[in-house]
Amino acid sequence: MIDCDLALAAPPVSALRDHLEAYWRDSVRERGIRSLEPSYELPGRAPRRPEPGPGTTLAIVRPLAAIEALHAEDLAAALAGGLNDWLRAEWLDRDPRLRGSITVAPQSVEAAVAEIERLASDRRFVQVLLPLRGLHPLGRRLHWPIYDVCARHALAVAVRPGGNVGSAITPVGWPSHLAEDLAGQSQAYQSQVTSLVLEGALGAHPALRVVLVASGVTWLPSLTWRLDKNWKGVRREVPWVDRPPSEVIRRAMWLTVPPVDAPLDALPELLAHEGMAAMLLRAGGQGPVPDGVNFDANARQAYPRLGH
């Protein structure tokens, strides 16, 4: 089994010391920068020493670090680099079943591209993490250099929860509860899928693969129905989208489960949606997943670097 999402708590910043240049090593100590733990999860939820489950042949490790929350792009880029080198030394070098995620500082597209280029020759890295929430929708052209380099190096782009950096998580301002935040993530994913398709980012990068991590899946069918309808009506606004959005999504996007944000008895119905069975990837962790999905075959489609 290929585990496409083995989540790992961000290490304390002190653990990155050996992987930082002297200036940044001094900075984090002098300024008391200790933690990159993100705010969108229950405290202490992510495991520090996760183990691939029984029968796991490959597992893609994803450190949960809120690099994007820092407003200084040089600091963010330095910590992202340190985290990536730490991941290599502490995880990828120690277990041949593990594959890595490249953490970048999305504050600077230039720095993100440089970091991806720096690590691309290490074939154990199979994806680049981008936060669900950033300063600009992911489809906008300022992000395209990241997609260029990912497509060139056969790296998937993984959009993962988090990224409390600018706008409120809802289109109507800041909610009160974590419950609203978690429910609201599905609206944030809908916006990003819409942006990636309509801006033409996927059309312009036919080799690009996008994985939506821990996104839930039930929101996708109604979104594609609405998008296809709106595209029929207003496609003159986006003439580069030359086919229904649902086709673009099915060709280029995958979603990890569990969690499935549906009750058990709705799982078969979910798979009845066109293309859904081919879009699901297996994440480790607790919770039911639909039967009748060839998760490993899907994973090798989503992650060209896993091979066949």
Binding site: Q187, P221, S222
Partner: protein, 367 residues
């Protein structure tokens, strides 16, 4: 030509608009007439007139909806009768006026404009046309001013709901909006939430998208966010009589949202201890949706499945006349509605919700 699909059709979303700003002047207090002349009106985006996301068509209207008298679409009652009410056999139509008022940065000005719009609706639409009913427009980001406007008009015949736009300053479960819910409950009026609005927050949680297409699609997510807020803030616990109508948000997303909220609730219920039931139960009891713009799945039966899951008694047919994405009652759905849904969706559900009389239209006073 239009086909009549149901006897006693109720259209739950029709847009009327003043032919020009001058048409509202007689209804605006002198102090605010002078204010508008000198300072104009002001919303939270950068264009004095027009839209940051230019619409698909001028005024977002059907190209054939411009009245012969030269006014903008939705400004002529006579043309509305000829183009919509008569040919479709509309027994009752609910007016949702989107003219300036709601969304003003100055809540006092917003309240004055809303009062003017409501008085104009009463004099020029409700009194002359017994088939029409109207929503009370209000400066919805100010709970107290909005409640006052609801109280002023709730007893006036023809007004059947209070109306806000979906893009608010804060999620509407928060306390600033509670006076609106109290006033709706007190007066027995549903609260309509309609597509649109400019409260200043980007429609995506990653900032501003580029296209009208994204803004239009993103409205569905805005409705989702509002229902999440209403449920998790405990609004339906505090205001058990509140009925919410999502207007022009689409419908197919609701079952998935309910599932997701139930899952989150299972995990985090002690964060919101005032909730005594699962989120899906509140949604099933308190929420209605108008059908337009109805989603178009690959297979028609998928839409019927969604309708059943939402509750066929909670769906209200709407055309959105005179806008470009108008749904024709005979062609809106990918397949004809089965008999078990038809009467309710096209007429019965709205009659029950808004307290409209059975049978043909009667003077507004009896509605």
């Amino acid at each position: 030509m239009a086909t009549q699909v149901a006897t006693g059709l109720v259209d739950c979303d029709i847009h009327n608009t003043p032919a020009s700003e001058a048409r509202l002047r007689p209804y605006l207090a002198e102090r605010w007439r002078r204010h508008v002349e000198r300072f104009g009106t002001r919303t939270r985006h950068g264009l004095a007139t027009g839209y940051p996301y230019p619409k698909a068509t001028p005024g977002a209207a059907r190209v054939d909806a411009w009245p012969p008298d030269g006014g903008p679409p939705g400004s002529s009652l006579q043309f509305l009768r000829e183009q919509l009410l008569d040919p479709l056999g509309v027994a009752f139509g609910i007016l949702n006026c989107l003219a300036a008022g709601a969304g003003q940065t100055d809540p006092e000005l917003g309240a004055a404009l809303c009062r003017a719009v409501n008085d104009w609706q009463l004099a020029e639409w409700l009194e002359p046309e017994p088939r029409l009913r109207a929503s009370i427009v209000m400066p919805y980001d100010d709970g107290e001013l909005s409640a006052a406007e609801i109280d002023r008009l709730a007893g006036v015949s023809g007004f059947v709901q209070a109306l806000m736009l979906v893009r608010t300053l804060e999620p509407i479960g928060r306390r600033r909006y509670w006076p609106i819910f109290e006033a709706c409950e007190r007066n027995g009026l549903p609260l309509g939430i309609h597509f649109g609005g400019y409260a200043g927050h980007p429609i995506s949680s990653s900032g501003w998208p580029s296209f009208y297409l994204e803004d239009h699609t993103g409205m569905a997510m805005s409705f989702q966010a509002q229902l999440v807020s209403l449920v998790f803030e405990g609004v339906f616990e505090r205001f058990p009589g509140l009925r919410v109508v999502c207007i022009e948000g689409g419908v197919a997303w609701l079952p998935a949202l309910a599932w997701r909220m139930d899952r989150v609730f299972e995990e985090l219920r002690d964060e919101v201890p005032e909730l005594s039931r699962r989120p899906s139960e509140y949604l099933r009891e308190h929420v209605w949706l108008t059908t337009q713009p109805v989603e178009e799945p690959e297979r028609p039966e998928q839409l019927l499945q969604v309708f059943e899951r939402i509750g066929r008694d909670r769906l209200l047919f709407a055309t959105d006349y005179p806008h470009w994405d108008y749904d024709d009652p005979a062609r809106a759905f990918p397949a004809p509605l089965p008999a078990r849904m038809r009467e309710g969706v096209y007429a019965g559900n709205a009659r029950a919700l808004y307290g409209l009389p059975a049978g043909p239209s009667s003077p507004a006073g009896e509605g």
